[in-house]
């Protein structure tokens, strides 16, 4: 029985891995060829400019890097927890998406000898193309810059960037491992029980007051301490440790990626083979359209997984952080935006190639549009309701001003997200089958553009209602909601009117059916 790699095996494995890295370049070039160069350049430049701004600007703000007690000191004190928070976010994102996004979909690559290592590296490269990842990264860079001031920012930024890269690679390796477990017999149950136990543990830590001391004792503190005093020996040691972590995580991550590739995706097969007993015929044609659309949404693996993470995660954070009602106002917009990114931004892809057949059925386009809009809206509403429902557990009973602001803000962001999603779905349909946990409704760059625009709009709107929850009156809040809601309704109506045009509809349906 072989006990280790033979002298001939190692060079062969290294050659295969070199080839896998070279294939990554080929896939990147293929992907780049299908993206708009101008759009890619624009998004890339904005990304670099914002990263530079997040690294430099906070260092020159008043009070930045001030010695002694103050906001700069507080920022540094929070940095170890922020490092750990980034790690947690990366873990959740990578695990929820079943090993991260695909550079090129599995269906398209099925005929080619593409190594799981290439897939692993591709998923790592795509991890930053998410607003949550970007905002957290910029927050880490900004916090470090504000805490240290201009003199020590450059050295610390190198360490923070390396931590971001290492944490992402660790999350990727962990995600492949969890995905591997999911694909084993009873693996899905094991992962669900594990997640539940972790949730119970976190709740116990919080309720018994042990969470604070645990955060203070996190190993991330060692990295932060090594970065705060400029480029000295300790800094070199810290940066070297981060670099080593990064390399080890990237290399080791390929192992569970290979193991995963050998196992069948159990959850997808379960969906494909599940029996759905017939239900009585609905009373109206519209109700039948809604039923089919609901089935398309709720039976999609990435949508179901995404909903759970998206709605429960922020709710738990709200409870742990004991958020007040004016702070809770911010959450529905965040969750609704994330929900739209699961399918609604390319809502017509739900029919896939069945869109051509559906379009041949004798029903008016308005009914088809309103049914799809309704199903999108109820999904977004359910996702954000779960978050608000969990979050309000520690927020106490809201007064009239707070209750009005939360409800009005919620309705307005739902309208904004729905209107934007259906507009984009009509303007840029993509042929996507949301079959695997790693599927996204649009290509990576489009997803970044969608998520940035949704995040910006809903955050600004939520901030208005958060302010109204503190300082406004119910009448003013309702007036603001009516104005903002009317604008979204108008834009949604324009999209609905455009859908009636058979040329536009034919373009969308045939593009989604490719």
């Amino acid at each position: 029985m072989p006990t280790g790699l033979s002298s001939t095996e190692l060079p062969r494995i290294l050659a295969l891995e070199r080839r896998a890295v070279a294939d990554l370049g080929h896939l990147l070039r293929f992907r780049a060829a299908t993206a708009s160069r101008r759009r890619t350049l624009l998004i890339g430049s904005a990304f670099l400019a914002l990263t530079l701004a997040a690294t430099v600007v906070p260092a020159y703000l008043p009070g930045a890097g001030a010695p002694g007690a103050g906001r700069a000191r507080d920022a540094l004190t929070l940095l170890p927890a922020a490092f750990a928070g980034f790690q947690l976010l990366s873990l959740v994102a990578a695990i929820a998406s079943g090993g991260g996004r695909e550079l090129v979909s599995r269906e398209q690559l099925v005929a080619y000898p593409v190594s799981p290592t290439t897939d692993h590296l591709g998923a790592l490269l795509l991890a930053p193309l998410s607003v949550a990842w970007l905002l957290q990264s910029w927050a880490l860079l900004g916090t470090a810059a504000f805490g240290l001031g201009p003199a020590r920012t450059a050295a610390a930024a190198v360490g923070v960037l390396l931590w971001i890269a290492a944490a992402t690679a660790i999350a990727q390796a962990a995600a492949w491992s969890v995905e591997g477990v999911r694909r084993l017999p009873h693996g899905i149950a094991v992962v669900r029980v594990g997640a539940l136990l972790l949730g119970v543990l976190a709740a116990w830590l919080q309720l018994t007051g042990r969470l604070g001391p645990l955060l203070d004792a996190l190993p991330t503190r060692w990295f932060v301490v090594g970065l705060v005093d400029g480029a000295n020996g300790r800094w070199v040691l810290t940066v070297a440790a981060e670099l080593a972590l990064l390399l080890v995580a990237v290399v080791l991550g390929a192992i569970p990626a290979h193991l995963c590739a050998r196992l069948a995706p159990r959850e997808e097969h379960d969906v494909d083979s599940a029996l759905h007993l017939p239900r009585p015929m609905p009373r109206s044609a519209w109700a039948m359209l809604v039923r089919i659309d609901r089935a398309s949404v709720w039976r999609a693996v990435p949508v179901r997984r995404g909903l759970l993470i998206l709605s429960v995660g922020p709710g738990v954070v709200a409870v742990a952080g004991a958020l007040t009602w004016p702070q809770l106002v911010l959450l529905p917009g965040l969750v609704a935006s994330g929900g739209a990114l699961l399918f609604a931004v390319n809502a017509w892809c739900l029919d896939g190639r069945g869109g051509l057949w559906r379009e041949s059925l004798p029903i008016g386009p308005r009914a088809v549009f309103t049914a799809r809009a309704w199903v999108c809206l109820e999904f977004l509403a359910v996702a954000s309701a779960i978050t608000v429902g969990i979050g309000c557990l520690r927020a106490g009973v809201p007064d009239a001003r707070e209750a009005t602001a939360v409800l009005a803000g919620w309705l307005v962001v739902l309208g904004q997200v729905l209107s934007a999603s259906l507009r984009w779905a009509q303007a840029r349909p993509y042929p996507v089958d949301l079959h695997t946990a790693r599927s996204t409704p649009a290509p990576p760059m489009a997803m970044v553009a969608y998520s940035s625009r949704l995040a910006l709009t809903t955050t600004l709107t939520s901030l208005i209602f958060s302010t109204l929850a503190r300082d406004g009156t119910p009448v003013v809040t309702i007036a603001v909601a009516v104005v903002l809601g009317a604008w979204s309704a108008l834009r949604l109506r324009r999209t609905a009117v455009a859908w009636v045009d058979p040329v536009i509809r034919a373009r969308v349906v045939t593009a989604a059916a490719l």
Binding site: S273, L275, H276, P282, A295, G352, G354, W357, P362, L514
Partner: protein, 234 residues
């Protein structure tokens, strides 16, 4: 005899690409017509126009005298369409597809016929499983079932034999024969000449988005037919 399907000077453009460049076509009740041609000849786009899915850019297209451009809903009520690609909603079951079709087409007492068709196409065992797990052939067979459920006046079958096993081919031929017997007009788009000859009474050959010939099925049969078809494609 009055044609059920009448197409004159049909043109369809997608941006710079002209998918159909002046097709003329007539199809009659109780007869089946095959549309033959190479990939990109315009067969599927013509079928999509007849199904009311894609609007014509130019030309006159009428089904039972109804203008497809003016009254697409009226056309959709009379047509049964099996699209060339998939044609199925991935996460809906065959029964849910049939329910949707029955509800939107207002088909009374549809369940016995739906069950009979599912059994005939050997899909009864998978009637309540989502179609994303189906093989290509199973998907094709279900698409034919959906097109035929309401016994339409015009049956449009786009590549119904593609990847289908012999039992599925036989069931599809039976559906075409039944439709002919009750006086329906059938159009079958395919690039399988032998099956087209078996299924249809006449054959229209398209090339480069235009009609190049209309022949009887007998003229396209056997070695002679193969040579004639080859000559029309070149």
């Amino acid at each position: 005899m009055t044609p059920v399907v009448e197409v004159r000077g049909l043109r369809v453009r997608f941006g710079e690409v002209e998918a159909v460049a002046g097709v003329d076509l007539k199809a009659y009740p109780g007869y089946s017509t095959a549309l033959l041609g190479r990939n990109g000849a315009g067969k599927s786009t013509t079928m999509r126009v007849l199904a009311g899915v894609v609007p014509p850019t130019d030309g006159d297209v009428r089904v039972k005298g109804i203008d497809v451009r003016r009254e697409p809903l009226a056309i959709k009520r009379r047509v049964g369409y099996c699209p060339d690609v998939g044609g199925l909603v991935p996460r809906a079951t065959p029964w849910e597809h049939l329910q949707l079709a029955a509800r939107l087409r207002r088909i009374p007492d549809w369940e016995p016929r739906a069950r009979e068709l599912l059994e005939r196409f050997e899909l009864g065992d998978v009637a309540h499983r989502v179609t994303s797990g189906f093989s290509h052939g199973m998907g094709r067979r279900l698409s034919v079932v959906l097109a035929a459920l309401h016994e339409p006046d015009v049956l449009l079958l786009d590549e119904p034999f593609d990847g289908v096993d012999p039992i599925g081919v036989e069931a599809t031929l039976d559906v075409i024969a039944d439709a002919r017997a009750r006086g329906a007009c059938i159009l079958v788009s395919t690039h399988l000449r032998e099956l087209a000859v078996e299924a249809c009474s006449s054959v229209t050959v398209l090339r480069g988005g235009s009609r190049v010939a209309t022949l009887t099925a007998r003229d396209m049969a056997g070695e002679e037919g193969a040579r004639a078809y080859r000559a029309l494609l070149d």
